[in-house]
């Protein structure tokens, strides 16, 4: 029997405004003052902390004199230069590589999310937990590991494996797509997992009751996860196109230029060419229109509100012996490639004293780190910055995700584009944009001196994390039925209590994941930290980078390993805390039962 691929129809959400001004006023009537204020305030914050810095930087491409960076009030010459020569090649490379990486990330992340969330995969808790480690690793670390493995006279050749075709493959576009794709897997995993939490068993049961086979039931289920899938693709594309770690290591050493490196070169030159960098930024921002257009087309006219308090716990599928073996082999291969290789890269650089020239292990770099004064302070700061930013972004991300999940209007389309465009811009651009926006002379005259303060650094971290955070949550938020809150209000709860009692329990798990996602992203974030940290209060990434780029490479690698370990510990504490503190009912929603 053929099951229609469309989602199961759900009633129109209550309170959905009728078209026109009367409809809008009717919807607003009865809403509390805080709700009416909240939306404009949220937009105001987005304008000040995302749009303004991006706009200030991008404006340099056409008006350098606006920020004293050149003589022209208006020129198109820098935009023209972006479409020519090496920059155009780099941008074209970035675009196709990012498409491929996003697709690869989904192709790997979706099955792992399904296996970990809906089957009896052995070690599924470790599989889910390992994703955080993949996310924690800075993107240059796996690239470094691969290079040490396959480069001429590298470990592969020293081990007797003479495989030049592997070297050629990895040290080229294929390797770049592989690494960026692996980097996109956690985003896909988190987005799909959050959406799976709202996919109750009743949909699959309904299909099976009507005679659908397992595969036909999957054909029904998978389209219901469309918002999460498209979010995963969009964020995978945007993160890949803005990645600098792979661009500066593997891609650079493979002579395969990417747009982010070209942009970095423009800024890193002296004097910096912010105008050329802004021109490249315009192209990257424009590029994100592609996944958004595809997403809008795919999701048009459908509703995905399926999550309610009556969603039944999904049943874990018992894998066959062959299925178990295949699933374990596939997941193990992924983690071997995603973690094993960078782990080797970190070990080889941090446990080998003589710059990695031999295979003899030594702890001299770790001893140097522990004896080095001033390391604990940066690590403590990064933990605090990460926790504060994650908390702010979780609230903002949920708000943005809720707005994105509403019926598509002009404002939600603008919000969608703005958030994704912010992800597409490399962090170094964001950081420079903050300097241009918040170090204007008029700011000082008004007494607003935010530049080089911890406040602005936290704001920048939050603004740069918000888009990804919102994307990860939109899948789960799309599934919320308005009746959840309405039911609580009908029983006399105020607006906040209704949200806390009706909505929070069902989104607690996705919110926790979104919190951890931001924490991991901020903990070792470098470009924003380098440009905006308050003098005298460096975060861990700045302290580590100082060693990595100079004479103390091994010490820097040891610092990186320790920092990643500490962040992973923090992740385990939060996940363990959720398990202990969250009421059983909260954990039941989105959880699974044995089949």
């Amino acid at each position: 029997m053929t099951v229609p691929p469309d989602t199961v129809p759900v009633p129109e959400a209550t309170g959905t405004p009728r078209p026109g001004l009367h409809g809008r006023r009717a919807a607003l009537r009865g809403r509390p003052a805080m709700w009416r204020l909240g939306k404009p305030m949220f937009w105001l914050l987005l304008i000040f902390f995302i749009l303004a810095p991006c706009a200030c930087f991008l404006a340099l491409a056409v008006s350098p004199r606006l920020f004293s960076q050149g003589p022209q009030w208006f020129t198109l010459s820098y935009l023209h230069q972006t479409f020519t020569g090496a920059t155009a090649v780099a941008v074209a490379n970035s675009l196709w590589v990012s498409c491929a990486a996003a697709a690869l990330g989904l192709a790997i992340g979706f099955p792992i999310a399904w296996l970990a969330g809906r089957t009896t995969l052995p070690g599924r808790r470790w599989a889910a937990g390992g994703m955080w480690l993949v996310l924690l690793l800075p993107s240059w670390l796996p690239a470094l590991g691969w290079e040490r493995l396959v480069q001429a006279d590298g470990v592969m050749y020293r081990a007797g494996l003479n495989l030049p075709f592997v070297t050629h493959a990895i040290m080229g576009p294929f390797g770049v797509v592989l690494l960026l794709g692996l980097r996109s897997v956690p985003f896909s995993f988190l987005a799909v997992t959050a959406a799976l939490a709202g996919l109750g068993q009743e949909f699959e049961d309904a299909a099976r009751v009507h005679g659908a086979s397992r595969i036909e039931a999957m054909r029904l289920i998978v389209p219901m996860l469309a918002p999460a899938i498209w979010s995963a693709l969009a964020i995978g594309f945007a993160e890949s196109v803005s990645d600098f770690g792979v661009a500066a290591t593997l891609a650079y050493n493979s002579h395969f230029p990417l747009a982010t490196y070209a942009l970095y070169q423009d800024i890193g030159n002296f004097p910096p060419s912010f105008e050329l960098a802004a021109g490249t930024g315009w192209l990257l921002v424009g590029a994100v229109a592609l996944p958004l257009a595809l997403q809008a087309r795919a999701l048009r006219g459908r509703s995905y509100q399926m999550l309610s308090g009556r969603s039944r716990q999904a049943v874990r599928r018992q894998l066959s012996r062959r299925g178990t073996a295949a699933a374990v082999a596939g997941v193990t291969l992924f983690y071997l490639v995603a973690l094993g290789v960078p782990g080797f890269g970190a070990v080889s650089a941090s446990l080998l004293g003589d710059y990695g020239g031999s295979f003899s292990l030594t702890l001299v770099n770790y001893r140097a780190v522990l004896h080095q004064a001033g390391l604990i302070g940066p690590l403590e700061r990064s933990l605090i910055y990460g926790a504060v930013t994650a908390s702010i972004t979780m609230v903002g991300g949920f708000t943005a995700a809720w707005l994105l999940a509403q019926r598509k209007s002009k404002s939600t389309r603008i919000l969608d584009f703005m958030l994704l465009a912010a992800v597409a811009l490399p962090s170094v651009v964001f950081g420079a944009g903050y300097i241009f926006a918040y170090n204007l002379p008029i700011m000082s005259r008004l007494g607003i001196n935010l530049y080089q303060t911890t406040t602005l650094l936290i704001i920048a971290y939050s603004a740069s994390s918000l888009p990804t955070n919102a994307r990860v949550l939109v899948g789960a938020v799309s599934q919320l039925q308005p009746s959840l809150k309405d039911a609580a209000r009908a029983h006399g709860a105020g607006a906040l209590l209704a949200w806390a009692r009706g909505v929070l329990p069902v989104v607690s798990r996705p919110l926790t994941m979104a919190w951890l996602l931001t924490f991991c992203g901020v903990f070792l974030e470098l470009p924003l930290s380098q440009l905006l940290y308050a003098p005298g209060s460096p975060p861990a990434s700045v302290a580590i980078e100082d060693n990595l780029s100079n004479y103390h490479f091994g010490v820097g690698m040891a610092q990186s390993v320790l920092a990643v370990g500490l962040a992973l510990l923090a992740v385990m504490v939060v996940l363990g805390g959720y398990r202990l503190i969250a009421p059983p009912g909260w954990r039941r929603i989105g959880g699974t039962a044995r089949g």
């Binding site: 003052a33 204020l37 890193g268 030159n269 170090n439 440009l531 005298g536």
Partner: protein, 350 residues
């Protein structure tokens, strides 16, 4: 909606925004905030490995509060350029006179200050005519580093690097990521007679299999892992690696280009902060300051050649007398940096 309700709503929004702005402003500390002692805080931008030790010693000796932005040279210069319409720094301390010449030509540096010290030959060569920056030490670009157990007959001249026996065996840094590398490239061009002659040399080097890595650390790692046999890096990096691995040897080919580390003062800083910056420079060049410089980063930036009479370099440094040094004019080569780096990245790195 009634007018009174609308007015209340507007007032509430305005009040919230104003409170938010005031709160943010109140949370911010200005760069020139006074310390508890009433002295102005000096903001130091530095890429030196011994800057933490120096700042601590200076504060202890003078009581002047200091805020240190310890960063790589690139981000520091990016911050300065991006904020030049409203600067927040007091002094800049990095390697490379070309960067200071560029800042001077933009009118960003205070001119006319020279501490009363006895310069040696290196110091005298490194002083700018308008006294817009002060040299504090010198390293060399580029030092040739090799493993003596693998390379028994190292090249004696730059031209010998083009020989077939060194095919695929020479590595150097990328000037767009490694600030000290541009003076090396400019020095080669200066020595060979011009830009086009220098370009031809590096093109021949590339044809002979030149391998580029971003900065000193990765290039030295390529040397010790066996990917390359000869590394062209900053002298302090090479000597630091030699201290950690006694198989490595540092050699200077003739000529080698001087790379001063220098301090420049922000021309737009408040007068009080500029005075404190001058005191900082005087302290750095004092006997106490030189001791901090030589002990603050003993396997890194402390491996410099002093610019003052009566101060000897650390024992690990090869004697400079045997090497022929050259000094490039930073005001001539500084403006060419962006163009030459772009050419290098397009033709040599890619």
């Amino acid at each position: 909606m009634k007018r009174s309700q609308r007015h209340r709503r507007i007032s509430l929004i305005t009040g919230i925004i104003s409170a938010g702005v005031l709160a943010l402003a109140g949370c911010s500390a200005t760069a020139s905030a006074s310390g508890a002692s009433g002295k102005v805080t000096l903001v130091v931008y530095s890429a030196q490995g011994y800057d933490h030790a120096m700042v601590a010693a200076f504060q202890k000796a003078t009581g002047i509060p200091v805020k240190l932005d310890d960063n790589s040279t690139g981000p520091l210069l990016t911050q300065i350029e991006a904020s030049k319409n409203n600067p927040n720094w007091g002094l800049l301390w990095v390697d490379g006179a070309t960067a200071f010449a560029g800042l001077d030509q933009q009118g960003l540096l205070q001119k006319g200050f020279e501490p009363k010290v006895q310069w040696d030959a290196l110091g005298t060569q490194s002083l700018p005519s308008d006294k817009s920056y002060t040299p504090t030490g010198v390293t060399l670009m580029a030092a040739l580093v090799y493993d003596k157990t693998k390379v028994t007959s190292p090249p004696a001249t730059w031209q010998q690097l083009l020989q077939s026996q060194w095919k695929g065996a020479v590595g150097m840094n990328d000037p767009s990521q490694s600030g000290p590398t541009y003076p090396f490239i400019a020095g080669m061009m200066n020595n060979l007679g011009g830009i086009s002659q220098g370009e031809r040399f590096f093109e021949q080097l590339k044809s002979n299999g030149l391998i580029i890595h971003p900065t000193n650390g990765p290039t030295l790692q390529a040397l010790t892992s066996g990917q390359i046999k000869l590394a062209l890096v900053q002298s302090s990096a090479g000597i630091g690696a030699e201290l950690g691995d006694h198989k490595l040897v540092v050699k200077y080919l003739d000529p080698v280009t001087l790379l001063p580390s220098a301090i420049g003062i922000d021309a737009k800083a408040p007068a009080a902060e500029r005075k404190e910056a001058e005191k900082f420079i005087e302290y750095v060049l004092s006997p106490a300051g030189q001791k901090v410089m030589q002990t603050g980063d003993p396997t890194g930036d402390s491996l410099y050649y002093p610019v003052l009479q009566g101060v000897s370099p650390l024992a690990a440094l090869p004697p400079l007398a045997s090497a022929k040094t050259q000094n490039i004019n930073p005001y001539t080569w500084g403006p060419k940096e962006a163009t030459i780096n772009t050419w290098f990245d397009s033709n040599i790195v890619q």
